[in-house]
C-alpha cells in the first residue's frame, strides 16, 4: 500500500492510496461546496447542482452520462452535506480511464434549462419523500434551531420555496464560485494506476481557471432550547438533540467519538441498556460529528409518544451521570474494541476506504493509514474523556421533537407547516 499525491498548476489536488492487490478501485471527487456556502436565496443549490452534474456536459447528454456510468459497470453515486459535495464510483481497474474521463467531465456540467426544469421536480419529490419519512425533518429543524444565524443552519435539501424559486443563473453563479480547481480534490483507492490518473486529470482539468473560493468557519455558540412540532399522522415521537463537540481539526475528536460510543452506540452503550434493552424506546443512539469550526454530539430517540417525556429525563440523567462520574475503564475498552474492529472490517473495501482518504485530505490536507487512525483511537484514555466532558456540556442541548404529542416537558406544540403544492414544470 502506498500513498501518492500530486497538485496541478491550477491547484487541483490528486491523492491516492494504491493497493495493487485489491480487486477493484474507487474514484471520488470531493468538492468543498455544501449548504453552509449558500445564502437564504439559493438554499439547496449545492444539492441541486449535484443532481445536475449527472445531466450532461458540453460533450455528453444526460443520457450519455447515465449510459456511460452503467457501461463501466460502476456502483456510482453522489451526496451533498453541509460541508461538501462528493461524486464517487466503484469499478474494476480496467475501467480507470473511462471512469476518470467521465467523472472529471461531470465537474463541468452545462446546466441545460430543460434538464434544470425536470430535475427541479425530482428534487421537490425528494423533499416530499423526506416529509413522509421519520424523523420528518427533525434533524434539519434541529440544525436550524441550534445554529440560528451560523452558516450551518442551512438545510441541505433546501425548502420547497427556495428550490422552487431557484434559477439556472443562480446555480451557474454558485458553480463558478465553488467548483474552482483549488476547491476540489480527486481521490482514489484500491487498484489504482496513479501516474496514469495524474496524466489524465491533467489533460482534462489542467485548463480550468483557478480562483478563490472562500468559506466562513465561525465557531458556534452553545444553545439550549426545546421545540415541539405537531404531526398527528405519525405513530411514534421522534427526537433529535444537538450539543457542541470538537471540530474537525481538533485532536480531541477521537475521544469525542469514543465517548459517543460509550454513551450511545446502538448496542452495549448506556443508552442501549437504559432505553433499548428495557423496551422504553425503539431507537436511542448518539454520535459525534465534526465540521469546520465546530462539532456536534447528536442524539436520536424514537419511542411511543407517551414515553417521550420520561425518556428525555433518562437521557439527561445519562448525560449528568457522565459529567459527574466519567466512564469506566471497562466501558472505554469495549468501545475502543468496537470502533477498531468496525474500522478494520469496513476498510477491506476500496469503496469504503475512499471516504476516509478523500475526506481527510479535503478537510485537513493530511493522509493517515488505517493503522495510524486505529492507533489514535487506541491511545484514548479515561482522562481524555473526562477532559471532553469538562469542556463540552452534553446537557446543554438543542432539542426538536416531532410526532403526535401536543405537549412535552412543558412545551406546547406548533403545527408542521404544510408543504406547498409542487409546481408542474
Amino acid at each position: 500500500m502506498e500513498f501518492r499525491q500530486h497538485t496541478l498548476d491550477n491547484g487541483l489536488e490528486i491523492v491516492a492510496e494504491c493497493t495493487p492487490r485489491a480487486y477493484s478501485m474507487a474514484l471520488g471527487i470531493f468538492v468543498q461546496a455544501g449548504s453552509r456556502d449558500e445564502t437564504e436565496e439559493n438554499n439547496g443549490v449545492s444539492h441541486f447542482l449535484e443532481h445536475m452534474a449527472f445531466k450532461g456536459t458540453a460533450q455528453r447528454t444526460a443520457a450519455d452520462v447515465n449510459r456511460e456510468l452503467d457501461e463501466i459497470g460502476s456502483m456510482s453515486n453522489a451526496y451533498t452535506t453541509e460541508e461538501q459535495t462528493v461524486y464517487f464510483a466503484n469499478f474494476l481497474p480496467e475501467y480507470q480511464d473511462q471512469a476518470t474521463a467521465l467523472l472529471s467531465d461531470m465537474m463541468r456540467p452545462v446546466l441545460r434549462q430543460e434538464d434544470f426544469d425536470v430535475e427541479k421536480q425530482v428534487i421537490l419529490e425528494e423533499i416530499a419523500k423526506y416529509d413522509d419519512q421519520p424523523p420528518y425533518g427533525a434533524h434539519d429543524k434541529c440544525m436550524t434551531a441550534h445554529f440560528q444565524s451560523h452558516p450551518l443552519a442551512r438545510i441541505v435539501l433546501g425548502t420547497v420555496a427556495s428550490v422552487g424559486g431557484l434559477t439556472r443563473q443562480q446555480m451557474l453563479d454558485y458553480f463558478h464560485q465553488r467548483y474552482r480547481p483549488g476547491n476540489l480534490v480527486v481521490a482514489a483507492t484500491g487498484h489504482v494506476d496513479f501516474d496514469r490518473l495524474v496524466r489524465q486529470v491533467e489533460r482534462q482539468c489542467g485548463d480550468w481557471q483557478p480562483g478563490p473560493a472562500p468559506r466562513e468557519t465561525p465557531p458556534a455558540a452553545a444553545h439550549h432550547s426545546l421545540d415541539l412540532v405537531y404531526k398527528p399522522a405519525a405513530t411514534q415521537q421522534y427526537v433529535v438533540q444537538l450539543a457542541a463537540a470538537p471540530d474537525l481539526n481538533d485532536d480531541r475528536r477521537y475521544a469525542a467519538r469514543v465517548l459517543a460510543t460509550v454513551l450511545g452506540d446502538d448496542s452495549g452503550s448506556r443508552m442501549f441498556w437504559e432505553l433499548i434493552d428495557t423496551g422504553r424506546a425503539d431507537c436511542a443512539a448518539m454520535g459525534a460529528y465534526e465540521f469546520q469550526g465546530t462539532g456536534l454530539f447528536m442524539t436520536y430517540l424514537s419511542c411511543l409518544p407517551e414515553d417521550a417525556a420520561e425518556n428525555l429525563k433518562h437521557l439527561d440523567r445519562i448525560f449528568q451521570h457522565a459529567h459527574r462520574d466519567g466512564v469506566t475503564q471497562d466501558e472505554l475498552d469495549r468501545a475502543k474494541s468496537k470502533i477498531v474492529s468496525h474500522l478494520v472490517l469496513q476498510s477491506e473495501r476500496p469503496g469504503n476506504r475512499l471516504f476516509a482518504v478523500g475526506n481527510n485530505w479535503m478537510q485537513r490536507r493530511e493522509y493517515r493509514t488505517l493503522r495510524q487512525t486505529l492507533d489514535r483511537y487506541r491511545a484514548v484514555t479515561c482522562d481524555d474523556l473526562r477532559a471532553i466532558l469538562a469542556d463540552y456540556r452534553l446537557d446543554v442541548h438543542t432539542t426538536v421533537a416531532i410526532g403526535p404529542l401536543k405537549r412535552l416537558a412543558g412545551c406546547e406544540a406548533r403545527p408542521l407547516p404544510p408543504t406547498d403544492p409542487v409546481r408542474q414544470p
Partner: protein, 421 residues
C-alpha cells in the same frame, strides 16, 4: 477472478449444513447462522412469536447473562446482528478472523442454550411492540409488507413483526416451546466466508453442534390472499405505489433470464424505470423494481413514491414500462447490465459478509452453491434472444397493486389484476 476457489460443504448427521468459502486475502471472517424458525411457523394466534423469541434468546445464553453476552461480542470485535424472515431466524456478522471461533461458540449457546429469563420478558415484548409502531411510520416498508401479503398469502406473505394483540398475549411457555421445536439442526445452515482454516473450522463446528438433536418438520397450511388491489389511506405528502407480478424463483432454470429482464428495467441510471419515470418526466425520486424469491415461487416487486397529484400518471408510466418490457430488450441494454453484474461479482470477493450471505442463500434455495466463476459463466450465457424468449413466455401480468396515500389509484384500462385465490 480467482479460479477454482474451493467452497467446502459438510452435512452433519443431524442434518445441519456447514458451508465455508476461504478468502485468504481478507483479515475478516463473516458468518450467518440460519435456523428454520421463521414467522411461517407461528400459529395464527401467536403472530410475532418468532421475533419475540429472537429477542429473548439474546438475553443470556450458556454461561453469560444478557450483559455478558453483549460484552463478550464487543470484546471479540464482532459486528453482529439478528433478524427474522419468513423462513428463518438468522444470526450473523463479521469479525476479525482470529475472533471467528469465539463468536461461533457464543451463537451456539444462543440457539442451543438460551436462558429465556422470565424477568426480561416484558422488556423484550416492549421492544417488539416498538418495532411494530416504528413500522407504522415507514411507508415504503408498509408497501412491501402489503405486496408480499397479496402475492404470497399466509403464511409466506406474513409480516415478520407480527401483530400488536398477539405480541401482547404471548407467554414464556410459548417461547420455550418455539425454541424447543423450531431451533433445530435439520433445516439449519451455518455459512462462513473469509480468512479461515477449513479443517479447524469443521472440527470446531462439530464440537459445538454435532450433538444437537433434530426435530420433526412441521407442516404449513397455506391460505391465498383474497384481493389483488389494496389501498391504505394515509395522510402523506407522497403516494407510495407498490406493484407486484409473478416471476420464476431463484431455483428455476430461467431465473437468470428473469433477473436480466428486471435488470434492464431497474439496474443502474440508464435503466428503463429510472429513465422514463425520473429522468424524462421527473415523476419520482425513488423508483425501482427487484426480483424476490421464495423457494418455490417468485415475484417482481416495484416501488415508486410520488406527490399525490402525479401518482396516477406515475402508475400509468410504470404499467406501460412493464408492458413494453414484454416486447423485448435491446443488445446494448444487456451489455451494460452484464458489465454491472460482473463487476458486482468481482467486488463480492472484497467482502466476507457479502459472500457468507450469498452462499447461505444459495444453499437454502438450490441445495448447492454457485461459485463466483460459475455465476460469471451463467451471466456470459444470457443473451438477448434468451431473455426475449423468456419474456414472450412470461410477459408481466396478473398485477397486484398497493397504494398508501390520501387517495386510491385506478389500474389503467385494459390491465387485468391478478385473480384472487
Amino acid at each position: 477472478m480467482t479460479e477454482n476457489q474451493p467452497i467446502y460443504v459438510e452435512r452433519f448427521e443431524n442434518d445441519l449444513v456447514l458451508l465455508a468459502e476461504p478468502m485468504d486475502w481478507l483479515e475478516s471472517a463473516a458468518f450467518a447462522l440460519l435456523v428454520p424458525a421463521g414467522c411461517n411457523y407461528e400459529s395464527p394466534d401467536a403472530l410475532g412469536l418468532a421475533n419475540l423469541t429472537c429477542e429473548m434468546v439474546q438475553r443470556g445464553c450458556g454461561p453469560r447473562d444478557s450483559r455478558q453476552f453483549i460484552s463478550d461480542l464487543e470484546l471479540l470485535g464482532a459486528d453482529a446482528s439478528a433478524s427474522v424472515s419468513n423462513a428463518h431466524t438468522s444470526f450473523g456478522g463479521a469479525v476479525p478472523a482470529e475472533s471467528l471461533e469465539g463468536a461461533l461458540s457464543i451463537y451456539a449457546d444462543v440457539v442451543r442454550r438460551p436462558h429465556l429469563p422470565e424477568d426480561q420478558l416484558e422488556d423484550a415484548r416492549l421492544g417488539c411492540l416498538q418495532e411494530i409502531h416504528a413500522l407504522e411510520d415507514d411507508l415504503p416498508q408498509r408497501v412491501f409488507e402489503q405486496l408480499r401479503q397479496l402475492r404470497y398469502g399466509d403464511p409466506f406473505g406474513r409480516s415478520t413483526c407480527g401483530q400488536r394483540p398477539s405480541v401482547q398475549r404471548i407467554g414464556l411457555a410459548a417461547i420455550q416451546e418455539f425454541v424447543t421445536q423450531m431451533y433445530r439442526p435439520n433445516g439449519a445452515i451455518l455459512s462462513v466466508a473469509g480468512k479461515l482454516d477449513w479443517p479447524r473450522l469443521r472440527q470446531h463446528v462439530a464440537r459445538l453442534f454435532a450433538d444437537w438433536q433434530p426435530r420433526r418438520l412441521p407442516a404449513l397450511v397455506e391460505t391465498p390472499a383474497e384481493t389483488a388491489c389494496r389501498h391504505v389511506p394515509v395522510d402523506s405528502s407522497q403516494t407510495h405505489i407498490g406493484i407486484g407480478f409473478p416471476s420464476v424463483p431463484y431455483s428455476h432454470p430461467d431465473y437468470f433470464q428473469a433477473r436480466g429482464a428486471v435488470g434492464v428495467l431497474s439496474d443502474g441510471t440508464s435503466s428503463r424505470l429510472f429513465t422514463q419515470v425520473r429522468e424524462v418526466r421527473g415523476l419520482a425520486y425513488a423508483v425501482y423494481a427487484a426480483c424476490h424469491s421464495l423457494r418455490d415461487r417468485g415475484s417482481v416487486f416495484c416501488y415508486a413514491g410520488t406527490v399525490n397529484e402525479r401518482a396516477q400518471e406515475t402508475l400509468e408510466v410504470l404499467i406501460a414500462e412493464f408492458q413494453n418490457l414484454a416486447r423485448g430488450i435491446q443488445p446494448d441494454e444487456l451489455l451494460r447490465l452484464k458489465a454491472k453484474l460482473k463487476s458486482g461479482l468481482v467486488m463480492q470477493q472484497e467482502s466476507s459478509s457479502s459472500r457468507s450471505g450469498s452462499i447461505a442463500a444459495d444453499w437454502y434455495h438450490l441445495g448447492r452453491i454457485y461459485s463466483l466463476d460459475e455465476l460469471g459463466r451463467i451471466i456470459d450465457q444470457v443473451t438477448c434472444t434468451s431473455i426475449n424468449r423468456y419474456l414472450a413466455e412470461h410477459p408481466p401480468s396478473d398485477f397486484v397493486l398497493v397504494t398508501l396515500g390520501p387517495q386510491a389509484l385506478e389500474m389503467p384500462l385494459g390491465v387485468s389484476p391478478a385473480h384472487p385465490g
